[in-house]
């Protein structure tokens, strides 16, 4: 495993990503990752806020396309996240903070799936948001905030 990480670190692609004197390598991947974060968590928080009782006059049914945007942004960030890992595998693979960030995402993804299923199970428009759904939304929103914090702090480890 360790050999694999070292080999990855020494590969031409990893070295290029990390060290190339061009804005198109690491800086651009990092910027796209930030864009994906803004899109994914921005939309997730909108849904969570609505479920938690903010702006109750917004009908929940028509919000559904936000989930498509979220998944689109998630795949962008999985791809750019893998690239960011390849650029710096030695430190990322031994970082507790990085593991913590991954853990938060791994817990949150099924919550997001479940949230979508629960909200749109009762069509067309739920009259009141169930307590369980609200708790789900609150947990998911906090996990996203934790993910942003952990991800941002990774830059300082």
């Amino acid at each position: 495993m360790l050999q694999l990480i070292t080999a990855l670190h020494d590969s031409a692609f990893s070295t290029w990503l990390r060290e190339a004197e061009t804005v198109w390598a690491f800086p651009t991947v990092l910027t796209i990752h930030t864009f994906g974060m803004m899109l994914l968590v921005g939309c997730a928080w909108l849904v969570d806020l609505r479920l938690l009782g903010v702006a109750r006059t917004i009908p929940i049914g028509p919000l559904r396309p936000l989930f498509r945007i979220m998944w689109f942004a998630f795949w962008i960030n999985l791809a750019t996240g893998i690239l960011l890992f390849i650029a710096d595998p030695e430190r990322k693979s031994t970082s507790l903070l990085f593991g913590f960030k991954l853990l938060l995402i791994i817990i949150n993804l099924p919550l997001l799936k479940r949230l979508e299923r629960v909200i749109y199970r009762e069509s067309p428009e739920p009259v009141a948001v169930a307590t369980g759904t609200r708790q789900l939304a609150a947990a998911s929103a906090m996990l996203w905030a934790g993910t942003i914090f952990a991800g941002r702090l990774l830059g300082y480890m």
């Binding site: 804005v23 690491f26 800086p27 990092l30 910027t31 930030t34 864009f35 974060m37 803004m38 899109l39 968590v41 921005g42 939309c43 928080w45 909108l46 806020l49 903010v54 702006a55 006059t57 917004i58 009908p59 049914g61 028509p62 919000l63 396309p65 936000l66 905030a145 942003i148 914090f149 991800g151 941002r152 702090l153 830059g155 300082y156």
Partner: protein
């Protein structure tokens, strides 16, 4: 563009746009006073008060580049003969307090506008608080501007060696820098960066959905319902303005000499203008369930979203393009 970002030009820019929080603020304040006095027989369609509040919000936003070009101007002239270093530092600290109070006035002005859009009425308590904060910031801005004038005007100062009195109405920018960057405070910068990303995400989410609705998507949602989300965008704006100003005060030279920072400020003004547009735009407010929107709203929305992404891009690229950090 890099040729435009010269110390001399930035110094000039500061002297040009500093009229917004001084002369501009006087006009905004008078507008507000007249709107309050004439309120007794104001009809429902009286738009004087929202106009005054909108101008005040605009001036609060534009004062951000006024403050940030100030430290660029300092860098440009600090080595010239006859410059009072002490006056510059006193000017900066009194301007910081005036800036903080003006931003609070901008916040309450925006809340007043937001309420007005919903109910056609600005709550008297909000009007009163805005009036008090605007009056306070006008007084503080006058103090700051007066000290600023003493930096390079011997005819005002008399003897250039005369010590400029430090105003007691000031906030120490060196103190802020120490809090952010001082020994033992290594956790502050990363924590503020994390908050900065949270604020950005919150603001972007609300802006995205509101603009997409006005661009013709999400037609099942009436715009007035989305209007209720706007305070969350302002919250994100606030978190980012506070954290951003702390970064800036801690390491001003990393920003003032970086061309990306000025692009970021420019796009930030556009994003703030979009927030004002989303708050009061009549055509937006009339967008009900199923209402088809016009090309104008589509163009504004697209432009606003591109501007917001550009703010993020310029900020993210600060360490990579240009010469920061």
């Amino acid at each position: 563009m890099p040729d435009l970002i010269t110390p001399a030009n930035l110094s000039h820019l500061h002297l040009l746009i500093n009229h917004f929080p001084t002369v501009g603020l006087i006009i905004a304040f008078l507008l507000l006073v007249v709107s309050i006095v004439s309120d007794a027989d104001a009809a429902n369609d009286n738009t004087m008060k929202p106009t005054a509040l909108g101008v005040l919000f605009g001036i609060a936003v534009v004062t951000l580049p006024v403050f940030t070009t100030g430290l660029a101007a300092e860098g440009a002239i600090e080595k010239l003969p006859g410059i009072s270093q002490q006056a510059m530092s006193a000017h900066e600290d009194s301007a910081l307090l005036a800036f903080i109070v003006l931003e609070l006035a901008g916040l309450t002005a925006w809340l007043g506008l937001w309420r007005w859009r919903r109910t056609r009425r600005v709550p008297p308590s909000l009007t009163f608080i805005t009036f008090v904060l605007a009056a306070l910031s006008l007084g503080l801005m006058t103090v700051a501007a007066n000290i600023g004038g003493a930096i390079r005007h011997p005819e005002i100062l008399g003897d250039p060696k005369t010590e400029v009195a430090r105003s007691m109405f000031s906030v120490s920018s060196a103190g802020v820098a120490f809090f952010v960057n001082g020994p033992g405070h290594q956790w502050v910068w990363p924590a503020l960066e994390s908050a900065h990303f949270v604020g950005m995400t919150l603001w972007f989410g609300v802006l995205l959905l509101a603009n997409l609705r006005l661009m013709g998507w999400f037609t099942g949602i009436p715009y007035p319902a989305l209007h209720r989300l706007l305070p969350w965008a302002l919250l994100g704006f606030g978190v980012n303005e506070i954290s951003g100003m702390m970064f800036y005060l801690a390491t001003p030279k990393g920003y003032t000499t970086n061309v990306m920072f000025y692009w970021k400020l420019l796009f930030l003004l556009l994003a703030a203008a979009d927030l004002l547009y989303l708050t009061v735009w009549p055509a937006a407010w009339k967008t009900e369930t199923g209402t088809v929107t016009h090309l104008r709203e589509r163009a504004i929305g697209a432009f606003a979203l591109v501007s917001f992404v550009a703010v993020m891009y310029c900020g993210r690229m600060l360490p990579f393009l240009g010469n920061s950090f």
